[in-house]
């Protein structure tokens, strides 16, 4: 029906019709799929939630005399970084903690500061304390480096998240008799509350359930600026239980994303503390979906009532890798504030911000409308349902003593 280059032409002429993944729902109700598909060129999506598999890498430039960070130890504001690369490159993850953080020694630990917070501060332009120990070589003699670092002085500063934007996610409850502290938030005993973490009908991959347009190389919104899909995310698991309309009913696809950290904003990369669990980064991701045909449009019109999540007990089934689920609930039920589980009315809370997800979808819409953001043809597709790609548990083989 339409091609991406035709849509890009319209974007450049300022004539493209762009709506967000919430607006498209009413539009389809009003005009029907056929007309809506002719009318709309792009549907924008968004999500803003804690995404633990996020990180950055950067190059600090060479000191005088030179130091080889690779194989040494590096800290940013006392938070452990990864220096297993060459002399001046560092990788740094959102879940990293200072060595002296008490962690869960007094359970539940506070986890006030760690990788996610350092990333937020770096992006905000704050000076970061960089300390490194190295072993020294003939060509890299220096053994110790302590300096302030600012993002503007780094050669490259790149966000590289190996797993973001989960296509659907577990809905968490606690069936035990005591409160538990999880990456899905504080869960009160005996089904005291239920927490979910997906933008539902606005979520990128739930609007393109079979990855028909999003693929490797897709230009996206990442952390307030432009980013790209680098690969399928780790744990990408396309072949899960789906509804008749194709919507995954379990955690399914994921994205690995990359982008220039220097262009990003702390508003969309927020250091986050999960009480009793650890630190992480709340990341804003938005994906534009070109409406190439009716099927693509129909998928973007998915509503919260048509998206189901599996309710999982985080006191037993989750930690012990048991397959049991407590039930299935729709995101419409979750968003109503209470769901019925085991005959009980359970209050529902969220970890992913729907209002911010909507803001992201609208920013992306605005960029496209103003001709500042063109759509991309995927370089290669993400592994689909038939690909054989599946998320496998660890085949543990105990080491011999």
């Amino acid at each position: 029906m339409k091609t991406i280059s035709e849509i890009n032409e319209k974007i450049q002429q300022g004539k493209a019709v762009v709506v967000n993944a919430e607006e498209v729902i009413d539009l389809v109700k009003e005009k029907g799929v056929k007309h809506a598909a002719q009318h709309v060129d792009v549907v924008t999506t968004g999500t803003f939630g804690p995404m633990c598999s996020s990180g950055i890498y950067f190059n600090i430039g060479h000191s005088k005399p030179r130091i080889k960070l690779g194989g040494g130890r590096v800290y940013l504001n006392d938070v452990l970084a990864y220096p297993g690369l060459a002399a001046a490159d560092v990788f740094f993850g959102a879940n990293a903690l200072p060595d002296d953080d008490p962690r869960n020694r007094m359970h539940p630990g506070d986890f006030n500061y760690g990788g996610g917070h350092v990333i937020e501060e770096l992006v905000a332009g704050k000076d970061i304390r960089f300390t490194a120990n190295a072993y020294g070589t003939d060509c890299y003699p220096r053994k110790r480096l302590e300096t302030w670092l600012n993002i503007k002085d780094l050669n490259e500063a790149v966000m590289f998240n190996v797993r973001n934007a989960y296509q659907n996610y577990n809905v968490a409850v606690n069936l035990s008799d005591k409160t538990i502290y999880t990456y899905m938030g504080v869960l009160k005993p005996r089904l005291g509350n239920v927490n979910y973490c997906s933008a539902g009908q606005l979520s990128p991959l739930l609007n393109d359930p079979y990855y028909r347009t999003v693929g490797i190389g897709t230009r996206i919104f990442l952390g307030g600026s432009v980013g790209y899909v680098a690969w399928q995310g780790t744990q990408h698991n396309p072949n899960v239980l789906r509804t008749e309309a194709g919507v995954p009913k379990r955690s399914a696809g994921t994205l690995a994303v990359i982008g220039d950290l220097k262009q990003m904003s702390p508003q969309w990369l927020v250091g986050t503390s999960m009480y009793g669990y650890g630190v992480t980064l709340t990341v804003g991701v938005g994906v534009p979906i070109p409406i190439l045909d009716e099927e693509i449009l129909r998928h973007t019109a998915v509503t919260d009532a048509e998206i189901y999540g599996a309710v999982i007990d985080y006191s037993d089934a989750y930690p012990n890798q048991k397959p049991d689920i407590v039930g299935e609930v729709s995101y419409a039920e979750l968003k109503s504030g209470t769901v019925k589980l085991q005959g009980k009315k359970v209050p529902a809370g969220s970890l992913s911000s729907y209002s911010k997800a909507l803001e992201i979808a609208d920013i992306l819409k605005d960029w496209i409308k103003r001709g500042e953001f063109l759509l991309t043809e995927a370089v290669a597709p993400l592994p689909g349902v038939e690909s054989g790609v599946a998320f496998k548990p660890l085949p543990e083989r105990p080491l011999e003593i």
Binding site: K188, T282, S350, L351, S353, K356
Partner: protein, 138 residues
């Protein structure tokens, strides 16, 4: 005009056994509701009482004056727990945890509003808020 206020009372040790609250009811016609109470065993510490007071504005003002004159420290509760609006992402993690339901999701915008009038300063949201937007001031 009738008013409803939430206040934190800090009692010095010597007043813990005085019938101050009884006087509030009897002399100033104030209705009260105890939201939280604690009296510490340490001699140098004090009693703490979180009250909801209801009555006529004039009588409430005179009642507060009486409390201050008796030697109590009094604070308005809404000043105790505040939200750093710039840090709140409207995620909703606090909504089901807050006992009096001080966080309300706007059904239209999905923004999470904080009604500090309802807050009883239990402190549960402080560490449970992922971006740590909730702040408690003592």
């Amino acid at each position: 005009m009738a008013v409803t206020k939430r206040v934190v009372l800090h009692f010095p040790r010597r007043l813990v056994e005085q019938p101050v609250i009884y006087r509030l009811v009897k002399d100033y016609n104030l209705e009260f509701n105890i939201l939280r109470a604690s009296i510490t065993a340490e001699p140098e510490e004090e009693g703490l009482l979180v009250l909801q007071l209801k009555g006529e504005q004039e009588e409430y003002d005179r009642g507060v004056k009486f409390l201050l004159k008796s030697g109590l420290k009094i604070q308005s509760l809404s000043q105790d727990v505040t939200r750093n609006e710039a840090r709140c992402t409207s995620c909703g993690a606090c909504v089901t945890l807050c006992p009096p339901g001080a966080f309300v999701v706007d059904p239209k915008t999905r923004q999470v509003n904080f009604d500090d009038e309802k807050c009883v300063a239990c402190g549960l949201c402080i560490k449970a808020c992922p971006p740590r937007a909730m702040e408690v001031h003592f």
